[in-house]
């Protein structure tokens, strides 16, 4: 069943469009990750999905019912969804009182509240901190307490804004496991934002990518801001971070707007990698140093530093043939036609 359906949803602040979603459907009971660079509109989308703000335009359907922007309707919907902030803030009282807050609002009796508090504190492994001052907990513990505070309300949807961005590796693992557990045992739909593509891949069943407020049909990695310069023959030169030249198949006349700061995307599967020994035969391409190699499903992920980090997804046969090693200098080749100018601009 579709939990959310967004159609032509936009959000504008001071005439600036920060979110523009043509169509988005979110299925109940699944885990979604939301990837995108800073300012892509991830937090705005979470606020809309959490009914904390109404979109400027567009249609939002929640659980089959169109969402009204009246205060009462939003409040009723908000009580089914909890948004966990990237840096959650605790009320200046005990951990127990923090968890009880939402339950008191829902007029739950004291004994039931205590039972729920004990249960969720046990789930997140913070039972010993029940009567501790919430402000005195560490960053990771605060994040887990925020999760407990959200869980206590038994929300239909849990929205998490970068839940592991500001915690140590140990707490990152704990939170990731907890999110999976909550989804599996309670059927809670979870939507979380992240910059970590690996976390998104390992935790989410579906990944959504936002680029300048729009849903992008890319995998987020290999998306770069670049500057375009016009050459005499109306060809465009694409320079990445003032360092690397990327071949482009597009001509300046084909650009919808005369803007010369654009974002490009290079499909990691369309890039071929060649070791330094074989480089003589190629005149074009970009060179870099391998910084990471890891297996990912049936593919091998190779991250190459070419001035910026570029991801190459190799099939096993190509990997066996080239046998690249970390620290090795390699050549990356890709057709100009595989470089996509994203439908977004930053002027």
């Amino acid at each position: 069943m579709m939990l959310y359906t967004l159609t032509d949803v936009t959000q504008r602040y001071n005439q600036r469009t920060v979110l523009d979603i043509e169509h988005l459907e979110i299925e109940e009971g699944r885990i979604y990750s939301l990837l995108g660079p800073n300012g892509a509109g991830k937090s705005t989308l979470l606020n809309i999905l959490g009914f904390l703000e109404a979109p400027t335009t567009g249609r939002l359907i929640f659980h089959g019912q169109p969402v009204e922007s009246s205060r009462t309707a939003m409040l009723q919907l908000r009580r089914q969804v909890v948004l966990m902030d990237q840096h959650p803030i605790m009320f200046s009282t005990t951990a127990c009182n923090n968890i009880e807050y939402g339950l008191k609002i829902r007029k739950m009796g004291k004994s039931s509240r205590q039972r729920v508090v004990d249960e969720v504190l046990e789930t997140v492994g913070l039972r010993q901190f029940k009567f501790a001052a919430a402000h005195e907990l560490s960053g990771g513990e605060t994040q887990r307490l925020a999760l407990a505070r959200a869980l206590a309300l038994g929300p239909r949807v849990l929205l998490c804004d970068e839940p592991t961005a500001s915690v140590d590796a140990e707490n990152q693992a704990v939170i990731s496991v907890l999110l999976q557990q909550i989804n599996a045992t309670r059927g809670t739909t979870i939507i979380f934002t992240t910059h970590d593509r690996l976390q998104a891949a390992s935790l989410a069943q579906q990944t959504l990518v936002l680029e300048n407020g729009r849903l992008a049909a890319t995998t987020y990695e290999n998306s770069y801001t670049c500057s375009l310069t016009l050459e005499k023959n109306s060809h465009l030169r694409c320079i990445l971070h003032n360092k690397v030249e990327i071949p482009l198949a597009i001509r300046s006349s084909e650009l919808p707007q005369p803007t010369f700061n654009r974002r490009i995307y290079i499909d990691p599967e369309q890039i071929t990698l060649h070791r330094a020994a074989n480089q003589q035969q190629f005149k074009q391409g970009v060179t870099g140093t391998i910084v990471l190699i890891m297996a990912e499903g049936g593919k091998i992920r190779v991250v190459v530093n070419i001035g910026v980090l570029m991801v190459v997804l190799m099939d096993r046969a190509s990997y066996q043939q080239e046998q690249p090693a970390i620290g090795e200098k390699v050549l990356l080749l890709f057709e100009a036609a595989t470089v996509t100018l994203l439908d977004t601009t930053t002027t």
């Binding site: 904390l52 009580r79 969804v81 902030d85 009320f91 200046s92 609002i105 402000h135 309300l153």
Partner: protein
């Protein structure tokens, strides 16, 4: 030096023996100041909260005016209220001049801007995430406002305490609107001024000691509250 020490020793004796005149003056001072502070808190806290929390038009101008009023001299307020309460004033028939009520009105006007301005500052300092957190946990508009108010409680309490400190130690309003009537509107500060005029320092020093002790108590309370806020 010996004159000062003699006055000080006599003043301490006066305090220790709980001199009835001294006690009456202290009681009048505390009653007037407490009532003025309570009334000002009842008006100033909600006003300050509404200005800081809401999106009122002309908010900045309002804050500027309030901040300007903080520097208003007590004699100006005394004069202003006097024009209303004197026999020729519009509230003359109420016969309030030279009463404790008149002093309370004057002191109330003195500290309402202070409590309002400091409440605005306290509420503005409350992290905006509290509002969002309360909302996402299901709070309605009033419940959300209450969370913000609760998180700003230490700053607001400090505002009230500092306002009390201001009125207990002021003299202009008490003198102009109270008239320094013995046993009725004579406060610690007006009594001290009178004793000074008479060249009789013992009661003045004794009252000074009480006032300083009260100020010290207020400051200790203020620091405790501030400290709690920091934690």
């Amino acid at each position: 030096m010996s004159f000062f020490l003699e006055s000080l020793v006599s003043a301490v004796r006066l305090v220790r023996t709980l001199d009835p005149e001294l006690l009456t003056i202290v009681r009048v001072s505390l009653t007037v100041s407490y009532l003025a502070t309570i009334c000002a808190a009842i008006v100033g806290i909600p006003a300050g909260f509404a200005i800081a929390y809401g999106n009122l038009p002309g908010k900045r101008a309002l804050i500027t005016i309030l901040n300007t009023l903080l520097a208003l001299p007590t004699v100006v307020i005394g004069l202003f209220v006097y024009t209303f309460l004197s026999r020729r004033g519009i509230f003359g028939p109420l016969d309030l001049l030279y009463t404790q009520e008149a002093m309370i009105i004057g002191q109330f006007l003195l500290i309402v801007p202070q409590i309002t301005a400091l409440t605005i500052a306290a509420v503005s300092r409350v992290d905006t995430r509290y509002r969002k957190t309360a909302q996402t946990l299901g709070a309605n508009t009033w419940q959300t406002a209450l969370v913000v108010l609760r998180e700003g409680r230490f700053g607001i309490a400090a505002a009230v305490i500092s306002a009390f400190g201001r009125v207990i130690s002021e003299i202009g309003i008490s003198m102009m609107l109270g008239g320094n009537i013995k046993g009725f509107t004579r406060t610690m500060t007006t009594a001290m001024a009178l004793e000074y005029d008479k060249g009789s320092f013992i009661l003045a020093v004794a009252l000074g000691l009480v006032l300083m002790t009260l100020s010290l108590g207020m400051n200790i309370l203020f620091n405790l509250i501030q400290g709690k806020n920091v934690r």
